[in-house]
């Protein structure tokens, strides 16, 4: 997804971050970091 978005929207900076633990688990530190440094977030979930 990051590669595709970077190709289509090269002016934006697309960063991938792995959430801690399984998808059942909250990750407040990551949310805080994104809130502080990011312009928006796309969360990808699946299996």
């Amino acid at each position: 997804m990051q590669k595709l978005l970077a190709e289509r929207y090269p002016k934006a900076n697309w960063i991938v971050k792995n959430k801690i633990g399984t998808y059942f688990e909250d990750d407040p530190k990551l949310w805080a970091e994104i809130k502080e440094k990011g312009g928006a977030m796309i969360m990808a979930i699946g299996h």
Partner: protein, 424 residues
């Protein structure tokens, strides 16, 4: 199936009912990067719109007033249905997905009132909360709502404290794993004799009202008390699991435990005189065909070595096999458990490479630092690691009617126990 309902209910649970989301085809596990790229370049299978267009729109367009609304979903439910004929009501229950597909006992006010005589607790007392999986919104339920499901299952009022204890665990029978989990119910203590549960010949078969209806009530509760079991919405098990009809409900035959062997609930810290219900999760049972020429304990690791390391092992031993194992030197259940733990080890390479559930649900926690898995992740591929993460992942029950030197096993892992006495 696109998990639309799960995403919606999770958004409601978090108080963001209008959260923006988009979908790609499922599953994505094991798909090549080129396939995933095609999914992203394709259309959302639900809306039919391009996935990337939806994603970019979601992070760039201002929120509408409707989307800014927060709060939780209200579910007003009428306490009584409109009167109708028994046949029409049976049809109504089936059509609404309130049953397990079999006819039910219609929960009239009179029958529910009779069921409530099985407990001293008030009908409006909160029993617990349940959800089809942890991301789902939990629903709460009262003693009366549990009684309705107990009536539907065909239970007698004297079984009701067991069913209430089961409900109090908050564990759903129909967990919405795509891999179709089964559950198991084990009853211990004096209650099993008091309500005449079958612990002897045919204990795990369809021969006893208490065994049958307690297990069935759990499945009905899981449908009606937490919104679970809706195919394609809150139940995503690809094949389903036949054990969900009754949840392998049985009671341990405590009077035939070999000397020195503790009943299961005593192993978990309860007193022998307490009545307890315990719940387990897994997928399946196997019959272990054994040789009479070899000692039983030597043959057991062979059978358990095919089990996934993700769950556990539960052994169902006929009293004759339990006696045999004691004669082979296992004078406690704990000694046998330790033997099985030690002799079913696998390698780190096998553990981390060959199991879907380990990759999805253990590996992320190992990377996070959870022990012992974080240490196992650092081991060379040929280093031994336990198949079952700890000895308490192995459970042993004595049950059966002594018509054969028989034992079987399941990949069931212990979840929780609840006091039945508390709900009398």
């Amino acid at each position: 199936m696109m998990f639309q309902e799960l995403v919606k209910t999770y958004a409601y649970k978090k108080g963001m009912p209008n959260e923006r989301f988009t979908f790609v085809p499922h599953p994505i596990t094991g798909q090549a990067a080129s396939v995933c790229r095609k999914y992203l370049e394709g259309n959302d299978p639900i809306t039919g719109k391009p996935v990337l267009q939806e994603i970019i729109g979601a992070i760039t367009k201002p929120l509408t007033l409707e989307e800014k609304k927060t709060g939780f979903l209200a579910r007003p439910v009428e306490r009584l249905l409109k009167p109708d004929t028994p046949d029409n009501l049976q049809r109504l229950f089936v059509e609404n997905g309130w049953t397990d597909g079999l006819p039910i006992v219609l929960p009239t006010e009179e029958r529910v009132a009779e069921m409530l005589k099985g407990t001293s607790h008030k009908l409006d007392e909160l029993v617990g909360t349940m959800q089809p999986s942890s991301p789902h919104e939990p629903w709460s339920y009262t003693v009366e709502k549990v009684a309705i499901n107990a009536v539907m299952a065909g239970a007698k009022p004297e079984y009701f404290p067991v069913i209430l204890a089961l409900a109090s665990t908050g564990v759903p029978s129909l967990f919405t794993s795509t891999t179709s989990f089964a559950r198991m119910v084990v009853v211990n203590g004096p209650i099993s004799g008091q309500i005449k549960m079958n612990t002897g010949i045919g204990a795990l078969g369809p021969f006893n009202q208490a065994n049958a209806t307690i297990g069935r009530a759990w499945t009905l509760m899981s449908k009606n008390l937490d919104g679970g079991g809706k195919i394609g919405q809150t139940y995503m098990g690809s094949q389903g699991n036949n054990l969900n009809y009754n949840n392998v409900c049985f009671a341990e035959r405590e009077e035939r435990l070999p000397p020195g062997w503790k009943a299961f609930h005593v192993q978990k810290g309860f007193k022998p005189g307490e009545s307890v219900v315990s719940v387990f999760t897994g997928w399946s049972l196997i019959r272990a065909d054994t040789s009479l020429a070899k000692q039983v304990h030597v043959q057991m690791p062979f059978w358990l070595s095919g089990f996934t390391p993700y769950q556990g092992a539960s052994l169902f031993l006929d009293p004759l096999i339990a006696d045999q194992l004691r004669a082979e030197g296992f004078d406690t259940k704990e000694k046998l458990i330790q033997w099985l733990y030690d002799t079913t080890k696998t390698t780190a390479g096998d553990y981390w490479s060959n199991y879907f559930h380990i990759a999805n649900f253990v590996l992320p926690n190992a990377k996070k630092g959870d022990e012992p898995f974080a240490s196992w992740l650092k081991l060379p591929k040929d280093a031994p690691v336990p198949r079952f993460a700890a000895p308490d992942r192995i459970s042993i029950f004595v049950v059966g009617g002594e018509t054969n030197l028989f034992w079987q096993a399941g990949d069931f892992r212990y979840i929780a126990s609840a006091s039945v006495d508390k709900w009398k």
